[in-house]
Structures are given as C-alpha cells and as structure tokens.
C-alpha cells in the first residue's frame, strides 16, 4: 500500500506554482532585477553617506521656518485642490447619474440625448483621472512656472475626475425610488436630487470627500518632486544635494503630516458615520 494521499489539491497547486515561476523570468529580466546592485561599493557608499547624514536631523531655526512654511503650503495645496476639483466633480457627477434622468422614466431606455450626455461625462471624467496628477503637474509647471499653482491645478483636475466618477456611482447605488417618485410626480431634477437622493447619500459623499482630502495631502507632498511647491520640492532639493540631515527632518515632517491627516480624516469620518 502506498501512503494515503494527503491533499488532493497538491499536484495542481504545484503545477500552477511552477508555471508562475517560469513566467517570472521575463519579469525579472524586464525590470533589470539585480539585488546585487544594492551591495555594489559605489551605491553602498552613496547610500551610507546619505543615511549617515540623517543623524542628527537638521534643526537650524531658518531651516525649521522654511519647513513650517512648506508644510502649511502642502496642506493649503491639498485643500485648495479639493475645492477646485469640486467645480468639475459635482456637475459631471450629477450629469452621469442615471437616477436623475427624466427621459428614463417609464418603460424603454430613455432619450438618446441623455445617453450621449452621460457617455460624454463618463468619458471626460475618465480622461481627467486617467492622466496621473504628477503628469498634469509636470505639464502645468511648464506653463505657470515652478510653484504651488501648478500643483493645485493638477490636483483639481485629477481629483475632479476621481470624485466625479465616485459621486456618480454613490448616487446611482443609493435607493433610486424616492428620486423616481419625485420625478414622476413632476418635480425638477434639483429637487429630486436634494430630497430624493441626498438624504440617503450625503453621509457617504462627505465621507469619501474627506478620504480624498487625506489622499490629496499625500499627493501634494509628492507633487513637489516635479517642482510644484510644498514639502516635496524642499525634499527634492535636499536629496539632490545629498544633505541627509535636512532630508531626515523633512521625512519626519512628512510622516507626522500624513499621520495627522490620517487621524483627522478618520475622526471626521467616524463622526459622520
């Protein structure tokens, strides 16, 4: 008697694992995967020198003042960016919402004008959020020069696309019957939105917007790397000069800022729930 089979799934699993390993090879080649590069003398020295500079972090008063200014600028960029994105997200998101379509009342698929408009809104939103905010920032820096303005506009556009799509989805996934009844009784779309959809959807909408603000804080930190102001720009400069002490202070500020934004957004969303 042979030993009893322990796991009938073992053989197929082994096969899939082997197949995955075979497919892994081209990936490793494509990404130039050489862990040895981490330990090459030149790289080790550069990294060691840089990390060695981390301690002690830079605490000169002028630098700290600059850091504080950059931090406030980062927060302001995120807030202004979200505010701008609303200008895009709210109208396009509403346009996308099928529950607010009057021509869809009753049987049938609804009017073709509405369908085309909804498709257009969907397409515009997809393009807005399809191009990453960093690319927008890179482009805007070339038009408006270095500084926060490029970052705010980039955030406004990308987040407009994201928020618009999600607003539309949230509005469509809430119970459509109240709005439908209002529309059928002859009320306008705005009234149907305010009294039919928003009471059920408002909490989720606000909660998602707060969450996006938190993401925007993180994004505006990063945006500085292409020259769009805030903490990232400061970080980029310190990294280019391989100034470990400054980089350490900035990184610590990053972490505190992100954790604080995390905490604030979590607190606000719990209050809303």
């Amino acid at each position: 008697m042979s030993t009893p089979v322990r796991d009938p799934e073992a053989l197929p699993r082994l096969g899939w694992t082997l197949l995955a390993l075979v497919l892994l090879w081209p990936l490793l080649r494509l990404t130039d995967f050489r862990p040895a590069a981490l330990f090459e003398a030149g790289n080790l020295q550069a990294m060691g020198h840089f990390l060695g500079g981390f301690l002690p972090p830079e605490t000169a008063p002028e630098f700290l003042a600059m850091l504080a200014r950059a931090t406030v600028e980062t927060l302001a960029m995120a807030t202004a960016g979200i505010a701008l994105s609303m200008l895009l997200a709210v109208p396009l998101g509403l346009l996308m919402t099928r529950s607010l379509s009057i021509s869809r009342l009753g049987p049938g698929r609804g009017g073709w004008v509405g369908q085309i408009l909804r498709g257009l809104a969907r397409g515009v939103l997809a393009v807005l959020r399809g191009v990453p905010e960093l690319v927008w920032a890179l482009l805007f820096v070339r038009v408006f020069g270095l500084g926060a303005a490029a970052g705010v506009l980039a955030l406004g556009i990308t987040y407009g696309g994201m928020l618009g799509k999600v607003y539309g989805e949230i509005l469509e996934s809430t119970d459509a019957r109240p709005a439908r009844i209002l529309l059928e009784a002859g009320s306008g779309r705005l009234a149907a939105l305010c009294y039919g959809l928003l009471p059920n959807a408002a909490q989720e909408l606000v909660s998602y917007t707060v969450y996006r603000w938190e993401c925007a804080v993180r994004a505006s930190v990063v945006m500085g790397f292409v020259g769009a102001g805030g903490l990232g720009q400061l970080m980029d400069q310190s990294m280019k000069m391989l100034n470990g002490g400054e980089a350490a202070s900035i990184l610590a500020t990053f972490l505190v800022l992100v954790l604080a934004a995390d905490g604030l957004s979590g607190f606000l969303r719990r209050r809303l729930a």
Partner: protein
C-alpha cells in the same frame, strides 16, 4: 428625523469655508491671471506643440517597450509586496506575541507612510537609476499597505479551524496553510489585485525620478522640449489606465 440645522453643522461648514479661503489666500494663486488674454494665448501655444503626437515607428516601439517595462515593474513589485506583507501581517495580527506585533505594526506604518515617489528617490540612490529601483520602491510602499490590510483580514478570520488543527497536533505551518490561509486567501487576493491596479498607474510615473518605465520616457521628452513625443507617451499612459480600469471593472462584475 431632525428638523432644522444644528449649530454644530453650521460651525463645521463655516470652518470648512474658512479653511478653503485661507488656503487660496496663502497660496496666492494667480487664478485671475489664468484667464487673461496673454496667458490664454501662451497656454494655447503650449498645447498646440503637443499635436500631432509623434507616431514614427521607432518611437512607438520605444513607447511600447517602456509600457511593457512599466507593466513588469508593477507586477513584480506587487508580487514581492504580497510575500513581504504576508510575512509581516502574521506578527502584526498578534500571532507571535505582543512585542513582535508592535514591531511589525510599526514597520508597516513606516513603510506605508513614506510615499512611493520618496521611496523611489531613496532607491535610486541605493540601487542606481533604472527599473530595479522603481520595483523596490513600489514593493516597499505596497508592503506597508497590503501588510495592514492582510493583518486586518487575519484578525477578522474565525479561529476555529486553526484551533482544531492545533489541538489535534498539527505543526504551525500546516495549521496556517490548511486552517487559516484558505479563509483569508480570497480577500488577500482581492486586495493584491486592487493594489496591482494602483501600482500600474504608479509605475508609470516613478520614472520622473529616474526609476524607469513610461515616466522616464515622458521626463526625457519634456526636458528636451519634444512635446510631440511627450503627447504620445501621455496617450499611452491614458490607454493603459483605461484598459486597466475596464479589465478590473469587468473582472469585478464577473467574479461578483
């Protein structure tokens, strides 16, 4: 239902408006200047230089290769992150004692709070320019995100199957593989796929700091003022985003 508007809500709205106003005031945004004639002309000139996109065969091949590289970076970094995250999620879920749990949690938080792009600048220093640095950077950040999600999934799994195995004498590895993993695997997989989707997007822009992929190509083209080439790369990024969006939506619909 409550009637009227509470004082708290009014206060919150007022605070919100004040924050937005203060932000715009602090940034000193030249919003008015955006809509003046000369600025509009300049912007229009700038946009015109992006058309038509460069469609020479040579350049298209280059972009296709960069897109493939981007895809490889995202896939490999997500795979690495899944392995690392699984390794850190077990202690982080409190399975190896309190101290290990705190250490794992702290490292996950640290990995997660440093943005991908900052990791990328550090990794470019550590591993040299190129896609390898991008892969490492994405893997590190994704480990932080996935580790936390994996640990949460572990904590919410019923412990009964694992306990049954342990009390009948199974070793730790077998207990995990047959008692816990089957329960969390679908959720872990869903999280990993979701992060992969995000990493494709991210891999496309890591190149801005020298970490390979489509971003590197875009950065070169823009730095050399080859706007036609840049617009081809942006179109490629857009296509990739739309395809990824479509595929993931389709997968979610069919698997739901």
């Amino acid at each position: 239902m409550r009637a009227g508007i509470s004082l708290g809500a009014l206060l919150a709205v007022a605070l919100l408006l004040a924050a937005v106003g203060a932000s715009f005031a602090f940034l000193d945004m030249p919003l008015g200047a955006l809509f003046t004639g000369s600025a509009a002309n300049e912007a229009a000139d700038f946009v015109k230089r992006f058309f038509p996109p460069d469609t020479s065969v040579d350049f298209l091949a280059k972009v296709a290769w960069a897109a493939l590289e981007t895809l490889a970076i995202s896939l490999l970094s997500t795979l690495l992150a899944v392995l690392l995250a699984a390794g850190l999620a077990l202690p982080a879920a409190g399975r190896q004692g309190w101290l290990a749990g705190q250490v794992a949690r702290f490292s996950l938080n640290l990995l997660r709070s440093v943005p991908e792009l900052v990791w990328a600048t550090l990794m470019v220093l550590a591993a040299g320019l190129g896609p390898f640095a991008g892969t490492l950077a994405l893997a590190l950040h994704t480990t932080g995100v996935l580790g936390r999600l994996f640990a949460e999934a572990l904590e919410n799994t019923p412990a009964a199957p694992a306990e049954a195995l342990v009390s009948s004498g199974a070793p730790a590895l077998a207990t995990f593989l047959y008692g816990t993993l089957p329960l969390v695997a679908p959720q872990w997989l869903a999280y990993a796929l979701y992060r992969w989707e995000m990493n494709i997007r991210m891999a496309a822009i890591l190149g801005f700091v020298g970490a390979g992929g489509l971003g590197a190509q875009l950065y070169y083209s823009l730095s050399l003022f080859h706007e036609a080439e840049a617009s081809t790369v942006i179109l490629a990024m857009l296509m990739m985003a739309v395809v990824v969006d479509g595929v993931s939506a389709w997968l979610r619909r069919t698997s739901a």
